[in-house]
Amino acid sequence: MEVKTEDNSGVIILTPMGRVDTSTAKIFEDSVMAAADTNGKIAVSFDSIDYISSAGLRVVLMLGKKLKASNGTLVLINMPDKIYSVFKMSGFDKILKICATFDEAKPLFG
């Protein structure tokens, strides 16, 4: 598992690739937390992952809390139905911003 990072007009787009499960959650955590240290505007794109476990959800939640504490913004984008249903099932869709595409997410970053 690896995390691709790109800068799109001041917003860091993080794209985890592969499976985010217990054994890879730490790699995911380290890369997203490092990104959050340098930038307050972050989008996580889910189009390149096959699976996310509760350990992966926890990382997304930690990222959300960290950005909230520093007045930053986190938007989750490009979610396949299967991944979206995991976020919906755990109730995370109620506290995290989810958009279909990056274009749709743009206005949220102000």
Partner: protein, 391 residues
């Protein structure tokens, strides 16, 4: 940064100490070697009272002692230390005796200090890697101790796995993955005819997850006695978990109360997978409900109570994501279709048999792929009380 290698030299010749300090002065100044000197066995013992050494350089011909057996004895006491033997005799018998006592290397007198520098350097490397191996072994054993503790903790919080009482036949089981996870189930009688059942999954693994699971399980059981509504119970468990939660861990959970007077179950959901309902002759279905939110994340979450009426011969099943997400060697998931198929096939079976058939089917599907998450199930077969028609 280079690590300091501590060397003890045993020699009864007076100029040895000066020679060593002179020849090794650069390494000493750089903090690579530290020397101590002894001229007899007693002095060696005194040095060892104040600490250990990495390398012991010894003349085996020091008057009045058996150098070979002394080295053997020291090697037994300090297995990580390596000995370099110095002797004026380089004959085959002396060499064989030196080898037998477990010395690491051999240098002939008069000492060629270039050779000795080289020998000491090589020996120091061996000692360093031995130490590293020992440290790694300790770490590994600490990890396996931790796993052992969390496995015990996880097992100790689960109640037995069978109830047969009146209208209820219950069977629950958990199959932990290689690493200990945070799944748990629970059941408890709240009053006569009212049975509480809980299924939960803590994010993460090992000791921290097992401890969080223990806290969550205790809170749910305690609050279930105070709040008659499952939603009210979860609302309070959630507020308590949020207040104490510095680790950003969370637990998805489903809690239901089976009422045998009313033939129904009232349940609430905190981000957990839906309850499966199996009625003979019908397609299995999953009980729809508000998903709520996993416990321990956000204080101001409201939970909703839902009620479901039992049909005759109905079985319900609570489970964790280890069931639908069990993977085969190619990473394909077991999924809900196969899951529902097995449930339909075993609709009339006892909870014990249904669970065993489900696990068997998951195992067959996984086809030897390692189990990456705990598989936990709680199955209840509900036998309707027959109320005679009053004419």
């Amino acid at each position: 940064m280079a690590t300091l290698t501590k060397i003890l030299v045993l020699d009864d010749e007076k100029d040895t100490e000066d020679l060593f300090l002179q020849k090794f002065r650069h390494k000493i100044a750089d903090g690579i070697y530290e020397f101590a000197f002894a001229s007899c066995q007693d002095e060696v013992q005194k040095h060892f009272e104040n600490g250990t050494f990495d390398i012991f350089i010894s003349d085996i011909n020091v008057a009045g002692m058996d150098g070979i057996s002394f080295i053997s004895q020291l090697r037994k006491e300090y297995p990580l230390m390596r000995a370099i033997v110095v002797s004026a005799y380089g004959d085959i018998n002396t060499l064989r005796a030196v080898m037998r006592c477990g010395a690491h290397d051999f240098v002939i007198k008069p000492i060629d200090f270039n050779d000795l520098l080289d020998t000491v350097q090589k020996t120091a490397k061996v000692v360093a890697s031995m130490k590293q191996m020992e440290a790694t072994t300790k770490k590994l054993s600490a990890i396996s101790d931790e796993l052992d503790v969390s496995a015990k903790l996880q097992r100790s919080i689960l109640p037995g796995n069978v109830i047969k009482s009146g209208s209820i036949e219950l069977f629950a089981d958990t199959i932990p993955a290689a690493e200990v996870g945070g799944d748990f189930y629970d059941y408890f009688w709240l009053s006569e005819g009212k049975l509480g059942i809980v299924m939960a999954d803590v994010s993460g693994k090992n000791v921290s997850a097992a401890m969080f699971a223990t806290i969550a399980k205790t809170l749910i059981k305690s609050f279930s006695r105070i709040y008659a509504s499952p939603a009210e119970c979860f609302r309070n468990v959630n507020i308590t978990l949020c207040a104490e939660n510095v680790t950003t861990m969370f637990v998805t959970a489903m809690y239901g109360i089976i009422d045998t007077e009313k033939n129904e179950i009232t349940y609430t959901n905190a981000g957990h997978l839906p309850i499966a309902v199996i009625v003979p002759g019908q397609d299995p279905c999953f009980l729809e409900c508000d998903s709520g939110m996993a416990l321990g994340i956000f204080e101001e979450v409201e939970f909703v109570d839902h009620t479901h009426h039992f049909s005759p011969g109905e079985t319900i099943l609570m489970y964790t994501d280890g069931v639908p997400e069990a993977a085969d060697p190619n990473g394909a998931e077991y999924d809900f279709e196969r899951f529902a198929e097995v449930l339909a096939k075993n609709a009339k079976a006892s909870p014990n048999t249904l669970t065993k058939e489900l696990i068997k089917s998951i195992r067959e599907f996984a086809n030897g792929a390692p189990q990456s998450d705990d598989i936990t199930t709680l199955c209840v077969k509900y036998r309707m009380r027959i109320i005679p028609n009053v004419i």
